[in-house]
Amino acid sequence: MTSRSVILLKLSPLLVPFTVIFTTGVFLTILQSLGLFMPIPFEGRLFSSYAALFRGSWFYVNLGFSLYCAFVSAVLSVVLGTFLSYVIWRLPPGMQKLSVVSKVPLILPHIAVAFIVLMFFARTGYVSSVLNHLGMIESSSDFPAILFGGNGLGIILAYVYKETPFVMLLVTFMLKKYDHRQIETARMLGATKRTTFFRIVLPFLLPVINTSFIILFLYSFGAFDIPFMIGESHPSMLSIQVYNLYFKRDLINRPQAMAILVVMFAFSLVFIYLYSRIAQRIDIRFRKI
């Protein structure tokens, strides 16, 4: 056997399930979006589900809403997670152990995190109770509609709560490899605390920040659990629109649900490609400095 076939053989435990399940799954999604391989015969033309999708306005509204929720929650989680892990890392070693409490949302499932957001930010939730006691609102109806207000705030809050610890985990792991003395040198040379963070530490963390941004953005863009529990119906995340078309309506709507999934899939691939290209370029510029 040549070494190439040995490599292939050793990779096969991964490549076979990958092809059989992942590739087949994507392939079937694409086929069904065209009206092929359907449980019942589909009467439209090959691309009619796409045409119907792009003609209606809900798709664009929901796409925009999904992008907005995913973007805002990913940016907030990355910023908050990086900031928290940096300040914890600067603490004396004994106090660093405190960061173990941030593991709580990592263990909780998404639906439970959504429940906690519901408990705190609903009109009759805990935050509203506190404001009531402080005399800032008269009754629960004065509390702003954070949940189900049509602005996605509830979804964003839940994602930020769930994802910030994930960023902290990755960033802290990176910081453990970082040489403290670089910071001391920068400070001795007269850099302010802010300059030190933005010019010395942040460029070092950038690769892991980029990775976590890609993961979190795409996850919130396509995930189902949280919007299913605390999302509004109009506008809704794309995953919910797919669910409604796939499970709640006639089989005739299935190609359209699949067409949305194909668009989401294609978007994810393009996003990963473009983002890593841009990140690479920014990284090179930082290295030059």
Partner: protein, 263 residues
């Protein structure tokens, strides 16, 4: 110093306080808006959950079962490929490696809805095997990354040395690689277990409600006005993984001690 205290209070307020509120909700079904503290503690929800213990433990065990099998599957699937990605240089490696991570990056709904139809055709839908298959594909990239990092942490010379001394492939895997990889195996397994154990949508889609799961059991309560029971069930949900990780930690410490390895 004051800054440190402010930070500690912030961390506790963000991550511990919600659990405290959950705990009090669980013990106080009569807690009404706008009380800041429960007025009376009652054990109603505890009694209700105790009366449902057969259904509850069935769903817990089922979740536990498919999560553990998923961990095992991802491990068997990734061990050899991870050693190749870490040790061998070949053309197309970078593309293949990033392609292998795709299932964790692209939205899981895109391939799982497509595969659902295939599973119905081959009779894997509504069954444990279908759930394990989809969860494995969705979560193996975490295992792969972790194992590749583990292989990179020690040289190929260990393996070579064992081979020179006449160890067979199986012996090398079990006596050299697995002990040295143990920290990465534990890290990867932890993530895969958590992902599988807490997943709601994929289990609901492929399992179709016939395979019991704890998230499936929990969901109707979370979505109802029964906040007290929902809080209690959420707390139970947290206790399981935490005690599992704690036990593993203890066992590993013991094992390392016996093998004379230090972490």
């Amino acid at each position: 110093m004051t800054k440190n205290i402010v930070l500690s209070i912030l961390l506790i307020a963000l991550f511990v306080f919600p659990l405290v509120v959950l705990f009090f909700y669980a013990l106080s079904p009569g807690w009404r808006y706008p009380d800041l503290w429960p007025t009376a503690l009652r054990l109603d929800s505890l009694r209700y959950v105790a009366s449902q213990r057969a259904k509850l433990s069935l769903s817990l065990l089922s979740s536990f079962q498919y999560s553990l099998i998923t961990v095992l599957c991802t491990f068997c699937m990734c061990l050899l490929p991870a050693s190749v990605f870490a040790r061998v240089e070949f053309r197309g490696k970078r593309i293949l490696e990033s392609l292998a991570l795709a299932p964790a990056l692209v939205p899981a709904i895109t391939f799982s809805v497509g595969i659902h139809y295939f599973f119905i055709k081959i009779g894997a839908a509504d069954r444990l095997i279908g759930i394990v298959a989809v969860l494995t594909i969705f979560s193996y990239p975490y295992m792969l990354r972790s194992l590749v990092a583990g292989f990179l942490a020690y040289g190929a010379e260990y393996d070579l040395c064992a081979r020179n001394l006449g160890a067979s492939l199986l012996m090398r895997v079990f006596r050299v690689d697995i002990p040295l990889l143990l920290p990465s195996i534990v890290a990867g397994s932890t993530v895969v277990f958590l992902v599988a154990f807490s997943e709601y949508f994929l289990v609901f889609l492929i399992g179709g409600g016939t395979v019991p799961s704890y998230t499936g059991y929990l969901f109707p309560f979370l979505n109802s006005s029964e906040r007290s029971i929902a809080s209690l069930l959420t707390i139970i949900f947290m206790v399981i993984p935490i005690s599992l990780f704690f036990t593993i930690d203890r066992v590993l410490e013991h094992a390392y001690h016996r093998w004379g390895m230090t972490t």
